[in-house]
Symmetry: C2
Subunit: 436 residues, 2 copies
């Protein structure tokens, strides 16, 4: 049987998953492709630790060049992560005419354009299904069967660590720091969790989704990114009272010739299907002008689901090679010269509903002063809860607004926070309830 | 710009959706393909009625041969439906070297093998994403990015009419016949609803899913098919009491060298994501050995979502043609000579949990007799509700079983139904709660 040579850069957890899958399901893959995928070289700095997966002796090497230059390798899988070395390796592999499969969302979010341009010159494929949503085949669907749609909105729960923490906070009324500690003990959160809990990982994935859905280049640094570390049990409880759950959402919307691209804790109605996406699961919800609403749900991380997405990409390229072609479609699904440069809408111009929580001294007239400022800033109130005094001298006042301009909200909060009767910085959580 | 000729057979609702989409999103499609899709001929017996979509004058014809023989048409979309004529047209189009896109689930479920064999001989593609789940791109995902997985289970809510009826019955406590009437008035159900409510449409779709997931030919007639017309408000209420919802599920499972393939009303736990799939929405939930659980959710019918899936298929074929190849993959994703002929497991050998409802005369000892028969048939009881007398002389006795063999359940029900104290045929609803 004909063989297609595959090389792997990075033999960590995901790499081991790929090796396991290519070994265990080799005959299934052959039954579908009619060719054999042969793993010819695996490069990693550590070639001694046992990863617990069977690997052909002699294919492990510390020298990445053995992968990058082997003429028998047609497809290179990059699982090193990070920016610098990964980018060099990918560009070298492309220069050598090799097709690329990667799970490196950070690299694509920041340096995607350079990589795609190189791939266009050499007419090779760059596929990266595993970069967003782990095993969930959402990128393939956007570029593939849903390609005839203009997309309007994409919402994602894209980080298992954050979703696990928020789920446990919601279920147990626990505080962020306590749940984070458990998550770290269980291996669901890194010892330095910044990248996940501050929303950076989610923003990388959103950059990719926005590019694919709206056919535009995205400047990653312009994506507004707010994590979950400031979410407290009290906000989760108030959300519940109003019929909402708090999720860390990646939000992309097309608005004329601009896009919204933002990551922040978001209240969504409990009856949204996305509200039931709990624990380490991920979900992506899209609306297209013809397909209407579609949601994808599954495991957003982990050795095996990620390996499924990676080997799926390898198989897609192998089908091309077997059919005698190299590149069948560009990395973003659009012809390279048709990508737009849509501007990202500044946060001040976002229109939405808001949850506002004020910590006010329990004195007559406070509520009137807050409401006065809101009114003066064109913000109208949909509902309000003033609770009994909880901790010492302040009471929480919670206001859900009607649709308002974020710039007006910021202006109002700044003024209200300058009151002597306000004792903490007021809390703002955005609401997303406009979709069915 | 280069053009790829497309022909359409059938200008009904879905056909009009395809014409609308190809017109309205033509420039988006060009930005992605680099070629123009040109609708050259549309054949329908009715060429006078206005479908409300703009169509180039002169391309409408009553003569299907103009589509089937036009050398400028590379891709034929079949939307006639039914078995005989649709099959003839598709086989002729294949014979003439044309690629096929169809939404005809009934035809593929029953005559798929013959069509796929013809397509293999002529090296053309047959794509049919719209046949299952409307706009939801689940078939592409199974054949595409998830192709590296051995699938274990596929569950589907695949018929919008049934799901709409069950949703309203659940929300309102209404009876089947009343909700069906409203559904007919709203256009969600046909005037003869048999095909939908008796599960036949769902079984056609299941046949396709089972073939794709498990790589096997399926004899459609062997799929156990039970619809929702016998579901009553009382069963829906009892389901609620036990924490379940009733859905018409398509169930496919691989079990060694046999498969389960069955369609029937099924109780699923309310906290399953599928339990929240309401109204006309569809969902498909799969488990693969690497990807684990994945769910797809969206609109399972309708002019626009179905057109999205159809034009997505046309674009996939157009990408092949643009790259200079004809067929890139076989219709089921497996090489044609690698398809298996897995036996469908007889219902008697299914193992599962069961909801049993007996209508018994309210006399001492009845419950003991029922329990005695169940015990003698190896059926153990997980929980039980005996309600107060409701209508005249009988009381409903509801029993949820532990896992049992369906053959034992049938034997027990037959014996219990022969009791003089049992006044109606006992009711059985299968439970699916073994998945996470």
């Amino acid at each position: 049987m004909k063989e297609i040579g595959v090389g792997l850069l990075g033999f960590g957890t995901i790499g081991a998953g790929v090796v396991k899958l290519m070994g265990r399901n080799a005959s299934l893959i052959e039954e579908k492709l009619g060719v054999r995928l042969r793993l010819r070289k695996v490069a990693d700095l550590d070639i001694t630790t046992d990863r617990g997966v069977p690997i052909e002796p002699g294919i492990l090497t510390r020298n990445a060049d053995e992968v990058l230059t082997d003429p028998k390798i047609s497809i290179v899988i990059e699982l090193i992560g990070g920016y610098k070395t990964a980018k060099e390796f990918i560009l070298t592999a492309i220069e050598n005419g090799k097709h690329i499969v990667t799970a490196n969302k950070a690299l694509l979010a920041v340096h995607g354009e350079e990589i795609y341009a190189a791939a266009a010159r050499k007419r090779v494929e760059v596929r990266y299904e595993a970069a967003v949503g782990g095993g969930i085949p959402v990128l393939s669907a956007i570029k593939g069967n849903m390609a005839a749609n203009h997309f309007g909105t994409v919402l994602g729960i894209l980080n298992g660590t954050c979703n696990y923490i928020l789920t446990r906070m919601t279920q147990e009324g626990a505080d962020f720091s306590d749940v984070l500690k458990t998550a770290q003990e269980l291996g669901y959160a890194e010892s330095d969790p910044t990248f996940d809990v501050e929303g950076i990982d989610t923003a990388h994935k959103l950059a990719i989704l926005v590019s694919l859905c709206f056919g535009t280049r995205v400047d990653f640094n312009q994506i507004y990114t707010e994590g979950i570390s400031a979410i407290s049990a009290i906000d989760i409880n108030f959300a519940k009272e109003f019929g909402f759950k708090i999720k860390l959402l990646a939000i992309g919307k097309l608005d004329g010739d601009r896009v919204e691209a933002r990551v922040h804790p978001t209240m969504i109605p409990v009856n949204y299907p996305m509200a039931d996406v709990d624990g380490v699961f991920n979900a992506v919800r899209l609306t297209g002008d013809f397909v209407d609403t579609v949601m994808f749900y599954g495991r957003g991380a982990g050795m095996d689901p990620t390996a499924s997405a990676i080997v799926g990409d390898v198989m897609a390229i192998a089908r091309n090679l077997t059919a005698g072609i190299g590149r069948r479609s560009a990395p973003l699904g659009y012809l390279d010269n048709r990508l737009k440069n849509l501007e990202i809408k500044p946060m001040g111009e976002i229109v939405g509903k808001y949850y506002l929580r004020f910590s006010a001294v329990d004195k007559p007239g406070v509520l009137a002063r807050i409401a006065g400022v809101l009114g003066a800033c064109n913000i109208s109130i949909e509902s309000m809860i003033q609770s009994a005094r909880m901790d010492g001298e302040t009471v929480p006042i919670v206001i859900m607004t009607h649709e308002a301009l974020e710039r007006d909200i910021s202006r109002a909060l700044e003024e209200i926070d300058s009151f002597d009767v306000i004792r903490e910085k007021s809390r703002l959580i955005r609401i997303e309830d406009s979709l069915q």
